[in-house]
């Protein structure tokens, strides 16, 4: 999202390594394995970068760690499964969790509203990474 005139002015006054990319913001790290798919992040997202889908990829259940909520369901499903999941299924309207959350990094402002509101702390808002920082930190 483009910054306003005033925003650009403020950024101009900051040390150059604070202003990154197209604005100032947190680095949003999503821990998909902890996500329950409730869509609270999407509800609170001001830019529409997070979107709550109407579908669910069953493979997400099986790849979740065993001690997570999705993992418990995945473990039960794995025990009775006859073959690998066929893929994406539609989620009925009143099933509020178990949805795939689509996150578009390009749209993200880095405001951290999703991380503040996530009920299971699956989203982390880290301090912005300066482009000159070590590559391992920047790409994680």
């Amino acid at each position: 999202m483009p910054l306003t005139h005033r925003g650009r002015e403020i950024i101009g006054r900051l040390p150059h390594d604070v202003a990154i990319g197209r604005g100032i913001g947190c680095e949003i790290v999503r821990h998909e394995e902890l996500c329950v798919g409730c869509g609270t992040c999407a509800k609170n997202c001001p830019s529409g970068a997070s979107r709550r889908g109407d579908t669910f990829d069953v493979n997400q259940l099986l790849s979740a760690p065993a001690d997570s909520r999705r993992g418990a369901l995945g473990a039960a499903l794995q025990r009775i499964a006859r073959h690998a999941p066929a893929g994406v299924i539609a989620v009925p309207e009143r099933v509020t969790v178990f949805r795939t959350i689509f996150y578009d990094e390009e749209e993200c402002l880095g405001c951290g509203a999703c991380a503040r509101n996530c009920p299971v702390e699956a989203i982390e808002a880290r301090p912005a990474v300066v482009p000159a920082a070590p590559a391992a930190e920047a790409t994680s």
Partner: protein, 164 residues
């Protein structure tokens, strides 16, 4: 019939015990003819109907295990799937008639969750009929008995559920 009639009252304490020990798994012998169906019953309707059916000495299939729920809205996909994974061949959810939920819309949530679990099962190649939702009123024990017998018939016609 009198011998079978004694069964129905006995099913209730078994169901109550089952809810406590469900996680431990009550594994059915693989390949055996015996099937197990876990019935999650709403306290307001289906369990009352089951109670009335038992008082009337109606026999229930011996395969069914009743689990008392405060409302079918409490039933989560994990309840249904872990019942199947831990030894049941089928799971049924019995709740109030549509629009008559004691908590307004718990049964609608249950209907959608059951549909979700059916799609989950379908995607991994398990028959979706193994999980089913029934609705009934508290004053309609024959409908409860018919639902349980229907479930028993469907599960009986399917092969025992194989587990990894």
């Amino acid at each position: 019939m009198s011998g079978a009639g004694v069964e129905a009252p006995a099913a209730k304490p078994a169901g109550a015990k089952k809810s406590a020990g469900k996680r431990g798994g009550n594994a059915v012998k693989p390949g055996g003819g015996e099937r197990t169906i876990v019935a999650f019953c709403c306290h307001e309707c289906a369990y009352a109907a089951a109670d009335a059916a038992a008082n009337a000495r109606t026999s229930l299939p011996p395969t069914v295990r009743l689990v008392l729920m405060p409302c079918t809205g409490r039933v989560s996909p994990l309840h249904l799937l872990s019942a199947l994974a831990d030894g049941a061949d089928g799971a049924m959810v019995a709740g109030c008639l549509e629009g008559q939920c004691h908590y307004r819309e718990g049964n609608f949530q249950a209907i959608d969750r059951v549909a979700f679990v059916q799609r989950l099962l379908e995607s991994v190649g398990v028959e979706p009929e193994r999980v089913r939702m029934f609705t009934m009123s508290a004053g309609d024990p024959p409908r409860f008995v018919a639902a349980v017998r229907e479930m028993d018939r469907v599960i009986g016609s399917l092969p025992p559920l194989e587990r990894a």
